[in-house]
């Protein structure tokens, strides 16, 4: 992989130059939290961000969008309006989240909406330092090898920039003058030192090996009822998790005529109607079953299917659930410790 150096003072000039590719987004403050917001003004960029409320998935599968417009029985896919965007400041765990979404949406029956958005979205990663809710080291998602176009590693005065894709290479070429190509041994040294220092910063450890078996053994455990009783069925956990992809579909009609849109919006298995079939039978009637499904899917299904859990250690669920049902409390309870 190609690695380049970019002096920190040159970051904004570089980002500015990316406007020729598309709209620029990055972490901005929203009250006491952060979101990926549009950077019409780069001054808004706030790199103190640790986690945004919604993950980058919001750009690739927006909370609500039209898949088709229709007129009579003729459907027209709405793929043209997808804008080109640069997302700067995406942390490693999130890039791992994207890799999971890629598997999910692009293998077996590729999803054209995801595909098109992924193609039009340049992912510019950024290294981070964990807080007490991050545990990406436990999930092995604290470093990235792929899934990004450029990845910025922040050191003292400069960034080491990994070029991860051909698009990334094109983006670098927009302002090659700002980058330095020869990485000195000193730089490498600094990077390695930073790496091990960062490794030592993970306070939260959540060992997820053997989760499928542990889930299996807990199939009838009373912990599910305990969590189920507390669960608000608010769905927030699914909305904020970088790897939750479920959605609902509905058709919007106009009051007159026979045209309209087929719309897709985020749904959650934590909601009661999620598994209702015609005739009213609900395969997951009570909350305990629904909480169990959420965690089974994260911690067992994905491991069986893709060899690793669908949790990337971002800590969003820990930061979001009002009643403290999250990967940390659930895994801890499952292990009975």
């Amino acid at each position: 992989m190609k690695v380049l150096k970019l002096q920190k003072r040159n970051l904004n000039s570089y980002l500015e130059s990316l406007r020729v590719f598309g709209e620029i987004y990055g972490p901005v403050r929203k009250d006491e939290k952060y979101i990926y917001g549009q950077l019409d003004d780069l001054d808004k960029l706030d790199l103190r961000m640790l986690r945004t409320i919604l993950p980058v998935k919001k750009f690739l599968v927006p909370p609500k969008f039209n898949t088709f417009s229709f007129e009579g029985y003729t459907y027209k896919p709405e793929l043209e309006k997808i804008p080109r965007r640069v997302i700067f400041g995406v942390h490693p765990c999130e890039i791992h989240g994207l890799l999971i979404l890629d598997k999910f949406f692009l293998e077996r029956f590729p999803d054209p909406y995801y595909q098109e958005r992924r193609k039009n979205t340049a992912i510019l990663g950024l290294s981070c330092v964990p807080d007490e809710k991050c545990f990406a080291k436990s999930t092995g998602t604290h470093f990235v090898e792929s899934g990004f176009d450029l990845a910025f590693n922040e050191l003292q005065d400069f960034y080491l920039v990994w070029v991860g894709s051909s698009l990334g290479d094109d983006l670098v070429r927009l302002r090659l003058d700002l980058f330095e190509e020869d990485i000195k041994e000193r730089d490498l040294h600094e990077y390695m030192k930073w790496r091990s220092w960062r490794d030592s910063q993970y306070k939260l450890k959540l060992d997820m090996t053997g989760m499928p078996d542990i889930m299996e053994l807990n199939y009838n455990s009373p912990i599910w009822k305990k969590f189920g009783d507390k669960d608000l069925s608010c769905g927030a956990c699914s909305m904020v998790c970088p790897t939750c992809p479920c959605y609902n579909v509905r058709d919007q009609l106009k009051p007159v005529g026979n045209s309209g849109e087929r719309q897709r919006h985020w749904d959650s298995c934590m909601f009661k109607p999620f598994a209702v079939v015609a005739g009213g039978h609900n395969f997951r009637e009570n909350r305990a079953e629904r909480v169990k499904l959420w965690y089974t899917h994260k911690l067992k299904a994905f491991i069986t299917e893709f060899g690793k859990p669908a949790c990337v250690g971002c800590g969003r669920c820990i930061d979001t659930c009002p009643v403290d049902i999250n990967i940390k409390t659930v895994v801890t309870a499952l292990k009975g410790v």
Binding site: I53, L232, M239, L253, G260, F271, P273, P322
Partner: protein, 260 residues
């Protein structure tokens, strides 16, 4: 082209906000009037014909004997009755003291000992306390987009489709920091969504103006709020504000339990 369905828009005791919301759909108002054969809309039209209807939209709750008669008469000549807003769905803010037996005293306080004789008033109740209702579109007022979506469905004979999920869903879509985590009493988790999470999106807690969400976990919300130091009367007061009769009926037993 099948004949346009005959529709009527009616207003009982309320603020007329739901009918106003319809008139506020400036971009669609011509379509709204063209999509159906609107035979009655007293608030906007003076040539109203009261006859058999395919769809009747009702805004406002029932608070007088005259209105009670009216909804019965309307039911008899209408195929589908759609309640618009928490007044007609659940009794509205005017029903927040429902079943507390304070109505007569309060009425006296407002009208004194010589009340008007024109109608016989009573405590506000929703339309379905008197006649069966086919569909409910809650909100105080209703949400314009939810109305337009369902209006288009109703005109084609499709049932009303509203989310059963709580406000938090749309609140997260709008990327708001959760107010509960800031120890602010937000009713989002137990309130039906459809409002686009307007209040949390301006940093204010959800006041519950779409009424109780069918699938909200009230016991858990209550315990959570209690842990955060809110008192029982405070919590009940908020829940009653827009939840009205539905709140009282739906959660009566549960509420007695948590009270203990």
């Amino acid at each position: 082209m099948p004949e346009k369905p005959k529709a009527g828009f009616y207003n009982l005791s309320g603020c007329s906000g739901c009918l106003l919301t319809i008139l506020n759909c400036e971009d669609q108002i011509l379509d709204i009037f063209n999509g159906a054969n609107i035979v009655s809309f007293l608030m906007a039209n003076s040539a109203n014909i009261e006859k058999d209807l395919d769809i009747a939209f009702i805004d406002g709750s029932v608070t007088t004997d005259e209105q009670e008669e009216f909804v019965k008469e309307l039911r008899a000549r209408t195929k589908k009755i759609v309640c618009l807003g928490v007044c007609s769905c659940y009794g509205g803010v005017q029903a927040m003291e429902y079943e507390k037996n304070t109505w007569s005293a309060r009425f006296k306080k407002v009208y004194g000992t010589k009340p008007p004789t024109i109608t016989k008033p009573f405590e506000s109740r929703p339309v379905d306390a008197f006649v069966p209702v086919d569909y409910y579109l809650p909100g105080c007022p209703i949400d314009a987009n939810q109305f337009l979506y369902n209006y288009a469905r109703l005109l084609r004979g499709l049932p009303v489709d509203i989310p059963k999920t709580p406000v938090c869903l749309e609140c997260k879509w709008r990327e708001n920091e959760c107010l509960l985590l800031k120890n602010i009493m937000c009713l989002g988790p137990v309130t039906a969504t459809g409002c686009n999470a307007r209040c949390p999106s301006v940093n204010l807690p959800c006041v519950g103006c779409f009424g109780p969400a069918d699938e909200g976990n009230l016991t858990s919300e209550f315990n959570l709020l209690k842990e955060k130091g809110f008192s029982f009367p405070e919590i009940e007061r908020k829940l009653r504000m827009f939840g009205g009769v539905k709140f009282v009926n739906k959660f009566k037993t549960m509420w007695k339990k948590v009270k203990k």
